[in-house]
């Protein structure tokens, strides 16, 4: 809230003088980056693990982050993930039994620049909120910052007897292409601090959709550590810039290094209970 306030002040009061500058930055040791998720779809008793491993790159480098191939990834000391033959650095496995409240543990062994490291992390499965309905509303534009368009609403009963955290991801197919998505519109997190126990009916997108857009919505319940991880990303990207900003900080994930060769992995391992819906925007 304070950051929104300060950004608005900057926009209104100042033709904020922004200048792109040249800087020489220190180079850090290469670190492992893990995008690891165990998803349990709403309508199934089994889940799928997806892990994408890359390594960090120099900050001003134009090259994409290098994927890491040939890693050894195991879930719960039992399930060995397979690397996708066509996508280097991408590992999967399915048919993981679902158990609400169970802890799932992921172990990774990988090589970066010829040095082997190992990492381990865990998360648990929470109960999901049951979504009542999705519906589409058209809103006309209001002023230069709001062009008007279609907004999707989601409605459900927020469980009032516990503290809940949610993750929402939107992907849009427009004219048969997938636009690159960026925060804050397409990945959002929520907690129920101010709305616990309420019947919620809210708009899930700030930027409007257009007619014929195909919108895929993935709404998940997540654990508090995973929520904090996303909140830290949000803070790092949006609350550490400009006037009155907090100092930036290294994001901490839950994949802990098991030896001295490397620091802890960036990114995290999360377990989700997920509800998915595809909506085509129509009049």
């Amino acid at each position: 809230m304070k950051n929104v306030f300060l950004i608005l002040i900057s926009l209104l009061v100042f033709s904020s003088c922004e200048t792109v500058v040249d800087l020489t930055l220190s180079e850090g040791q290469k670190s492992l980056v893990s995008e690891a998720v165990l998803e349990f779809p709403d309508d199934s008793d089994y889940g799928n693990v997806r892990v994408f491993l890359t390594q960090t790159a120099s900050f001003f480098s134009d090259a994409p982050n290098l994927p890491i191939s040939g890693a050894n990834i195991v879930l719960n000391d039992t399930y060995l993930l397979d690397e996708h033959p066509d996508s280097m650095g991408y590992y999967t496995i399915g048919s993981i039994p679902k158990e609400i409240g169970a802890i799932y543990k992921l172990d990774i062994e990988a090589e970066i620049s010829g040095v082997t490291g190992s990492w381990s992390g865990s998360d648990y499965l929470t109960q999901r909120a049951i979504v009542d309905s999705f519906y589409v509303v058209f809103k006309p534009g209001q002023g230069p910052f709001d062009k008007g368009g279609y907004h999707i609403h989601m409605a459900f009963d927020e469980p009032g007897d516990q503290v809940n955290f949610y993750h929402q991801k939107i992907e849009v197919s427009r004219n048969d292409t997938m636009p690159t998505y960026k925060q804050p519109d397409f990945v959002q997190i929520y907690d129920d601090e101010l709305v616990n126990g309420q019947y919620l009916d809210f708009e899930i997108n700030h930027n409007p959709f257009l007619l014929s857009d195909t919108v895929s919505v993935a709404f998940s319940s997540i654990t508090e550590p995973t929520y904090l991880f996303y909140e830290n990303i949000n803070q790092l990207l949006f609350e550490t810039i400009g006037i009155g900003a907090a100092p930036p900080f290294p994001l901490r994930g839950n994949l802990i290094s098991q030896n001295d060769n490397f620091e802890n992995s960036l990114g995290n391992f999360q377990v989700k209970n997920i509800f998915e819906k595809v909506i085509i925007i129509e009049e």
């Binding site: 982050n65 790092l236 990207l237 810039i241 006037i243 994001l251």
Partner: protein, 791 residues
């Protein structure tokens, strides 16, 4: 026989006691009858001196005899009185302003006063000088002016508050007529709350803080408003690019006077003229209202009523609005018991609050936060003799913290009402201090302050199994401690209490007429913290009191200084070194969530801090050309190691620079009075860039490029420097009319330096997949003109 001996003893005692008499009174400005603070009184024959206190009162005890007493004050003509001192006398003096070049004697007094005085680490700026300095948008600003002095810095343009000797802005006690201001800035630090037209005097203590002050460990900025012209009605004001102001003062009967000053910015009035509602619906302004009334009741009693109300308001269309400000009141009774003893009984009230309103779909709510402070103070000044001047007193502060109330503003809003717990506290204190003139060369001021702080109910405290914050090794981050329940406190039940003795010591040794060395020591406890993890605080930050889990900050400072004035008293040189040690320094874990957090203790780690430095100041006075060069070489650091060796703490437990750490800080100020019509001023400022963090790598997570950082405050923004100039034109005064006017032309940041206020990193807008560093600057070159008048 015994009776005769007794009578003779009494007679001899009586005769002995009558050898000394006291000369006392008030020194005032002749035209307005405003008391002058720090005016000098010199007994020529005995070479004894005194100065007026903050109420303009002096007292000097001398042996019976005939004396020549000289009364003087910088910028005023001396008054010399021949006094036959055969009984205690009250002599009130009126001094007339002296607009021509200052006499040698006046300069001498002011220069020697600095060498002779026991005060060190103190800076004074008269409002006349402040008004002549170049100012951004032409807005005269007291706080920006004191930043041109050694040891005083800002975190950057657009930053709230100021920093003294490496301390954060919440470590400064800012007083306006004894009223404690919790926020001393408008528009996020662009301007201060002080309307220079309403100000009579200001004094900044950076060290050697007297025992009458407490509660903040780094500095005291004591600002006094004018009393109001007691002789005739007088108006002054000005019109500038950002704001206009008006002050009216005058007598009320024979023994009273008043002063009212108002200021308002008006950028938003131009926005309202636009036909485009996306522009006209926006609002941004501030206003100040300073008021004071005083009255003499007889010759020994005086009452004062003083008030300040200031407010900032901001609105962005219909979506978002906010306002914040101080409302303060001071009621004071000054009483002269005798020519040696006076008292000052005061009541102060301050209410600082902010309100945010959000109006977005069905997410409409108000967010209200405030802090209320009542203070009673009873101080005494006893001029025991020329060797001893005693000050003692007591104070009691009560605080009511209302950190946040969220309430829905419409029936359709899905926001629940939520209110953070109110907090209550009392802060009593006692102090005693003696200024002891041991010899002509040696002067000692020793004081002791006992401070205490009590958090009281009604309150609820969370209980933890192993402390409020723990390091989760599995999650690799600090997390809230395991809560095992709550403890409730009834009204006025003590939640937590703290007590501390705070010794103060200052010593001056005069080497000769032109040179002295001084040293000081202070220990101060601070029981309230401004909760912010930003590089600079904002008006939306809240104050949190010490309690079970939030500890008081303790600061000790030792300073040593050398003071020299030249033979002709036109040049002053001051050199000071200081060292500050801080315990229970409070800092926040990475990514701390401070907004609307009922349990801040779960985001806080404690450590130690240190600040040390060298301050040099060379000042030229008198003549057409005046000014000063101030240089500070300093460090300000903290070290937070965490609760155990297995934890990273902050910056892996190593020392790291504080946001207000600036290695070098230089100010060069020049004022040149060409003639009665034209005067010019300019300043050059240079400072090391403030600490910041740069990424050491980047990575992609869920399609988002994320910079990877290491450590805290390990890099620096580019160095800051700029030049400002100003010219003041005073058209020839029309003797038929009493009106005086002047035009002030100024240019802020003459060579348009893009000083970095912050630097961040983002994906390149021109080259997808690349990243770039972006520097945010606030003020480019800004010419301005303002018109000031008085009649």
């Amino acid at each position: 026989m015994n009776k005769i001996v007794f009578v003779l003893f009494c007679l001899s005692t009586s005769l002995f006691a009558q050898d000394k008499f006291t000369l006392s009174g008030f020194i005032r400005e002749k035209s307005s009858s405003e008391e002058l603070i720090g005016a000098n009184i010199i007994c020529e024959q005995l070479k004894l001196g005194a100065t007026t206190n903050p109420y303009g009162f002096y007292s000097m005890t001398l042996p019976e005899g005939d004396y020549t007493i000289r009364y003087s004050f910088i910028g005023y003509k001396d008054v010399i009185r021949e006094v036959k001192l055969n009984k205690s006398q009250r002599i009130d003096i009126n001094l007339s302003t002296f607009t021509e070049q200052l006499s040698e004697i006046v300069l001498e007094d002011e220069a020697l006063q600095k060498v002779r005085s026991i005060e060190m680490s103190v800076n004074k700026l008269d409002t006349k000088t402040v008004k002549e300095l170049p100012a951004v948008f032409g807005e005269v600003d007291i706080i920006k002016s004191i930043q041109l002095l050694p040891g005083v810095t800002s975190v950057g343009e657009g930053a709230n508050g100021f920093n003294v000797r490496g301390g954060s802005s919440d470590e400064n006690l800012v007083l306006l007529d004894e009223m404690n201001l919790f926020n001393s800035s408008h528009l996020f630090g662009f301007f201060s709350v002080f309307n220079a037209d309403a100000i009579k005097d200001m004094k900044l203590y950076k060290g050697g803080i007297p025992a009458e002050y407490g509660s903040r460990i780094s500095s005291v900025l004591d600002v006094r408003q004018k009393e109001g012209n007691a002789n005739y009605f007088h108006t002054s004001g000005g019109i500038g690019l950002i704001s206009s102001r008006l002050m009216i003062e005058g007598p009320v009967g024979d023994a009273s006077s008043f002063m009212v000053a108002a200021r308002r910015s008006y950028g938003d009035l131009f926005l309202a003229l636009s036909s485009d509602t996306t522009i006209s619906d926006n609002q941004l302004y501030f206003y100040d209202l300073n008021m004071k009334y005083n009255s003499w009741i007889g010759t020994r009693d005086r009452i004062f009523l003083s008030s300040y109300i200031g407010r900032d308001a901001f609105r962005f269309g219909s979506l978002f609005s906010s306002s914040w400000g101080n409302s303060t009141l001071n009621a004071r009774w000054l009483h002269l018991f005798s020519d040696r003893l006076l008292s000052n009984l005061s009541y102060n009230y301050n209410n600082y609050d902010y309100l945010i309103t959000v109006d977005q779909s069905n997410f409409d709510f108000d967010w209200d936060s405030k802090i209320k402070n009542h203070q009673f103070k009873y101080d005494f000044s006893y001029y025991h003799s020329n060797e001893h001047e005693l000050n003692f007193g007591a104070s009691l502060n009560s605080y009511q913290f209302e950190p946040g109330l969220i309430s829905p503003t419409t029936d359709s809003s899905i926001v629940n009402t939520y209110e953070m717990r109110h907090k209550f506290a009392y802060e009593p204190a006692l102090f005693v201090q003696d200024e002891w003139k041991v010899s002509e060369r040696l002067l000692i001021k020793a004081g002791l302050r006992w401070s205490s702080f009590y958090r009281l109910g009604v309150d609820t405290m969370q209980l933890y199994s192993n402390g409020p914050i723990e390091f989760d090794e599995l999650q690799n981050q600090y997390v809230s401690g395991d809560s095992i329940g709550f403890k409730a406190f009834t009204k006025n039940q003590i939640v937590k209490g703290y007590n501390a003795l705070e010794p103060r010591l200052a010593i001056r040794y005069q080497l000769n007429e032109l040179n002295s060395i001084k040293t000081s020591y202070q220990r101060i406890n601070q029981y309230m913290h401004l909760i912010t993890n930003a590089s600079s605080p904002t008006p939306l930050d809240i104050w949190a009191p010490a309690g079970e889990f939030i500890k008081p900050l303790t600061g000790q400072q030792i300073a040593l200084g050398y003071f020299h004035t030249s033979e002709n008293q036109k040049w002053d040189l001051t050199a000071e070194v200081y060292y500050k040690k801080l315990d229970n320094v409070l800092d926040y874990i990475d990514g701390a969530d401070l907004e609307f957090n009922e349990n801040l203790e779960t985001e806080i780690l404690y450590g130690e801090g240190r600040a040390y430095g060298l301050e040099l100041m060379l000042e030229k006075k008198g003549g057409k050309f005046t000014g000063w060069l101030a240089y500070t070489l300093a460090r300000s650091e903290s070290k937070v190691t965490g609760l155990s060796d297995a934890e990273p703490g902050i910056n892996l437990g190593n020392w790291y620079p504080n946001p207000q750490d600036k290695t070098h800080d230089l100010s060069l100020v020049a004022l040149y009075r060409l003639n009665d019509k034209w005067s010019f001023s300019g300043n050059f400022v240079y400072a090391t860039g403030i600490p910041t963090n740069y990424p050491i790598a980047k990575y992609v997570y869920e399609g988002i490029t994320i910079p990877h950082y290491s450590g805290r405050n390990q890099e620096r923004l580019p160095d800051y420097h700029r030049v400002d100039i100003a010219a003041t034109l005073r058209p020839k005064k029309n003797n038929k009319r009493k009106k005086q006017a002047e035009w002030v032309f100024s240019i802020y940041n003459v060579y348009n330096r893009k000083n970095a206020s912050s630097l961040y990193f983002r994906e390149s807008r021109e080259s997808e997949g690349s990243t770039e560093a972006v520097q945010l600057s606030i003020f480019p070159i800004i010419p301005s003109v303002s018109y000031n008048f008085k009649f």
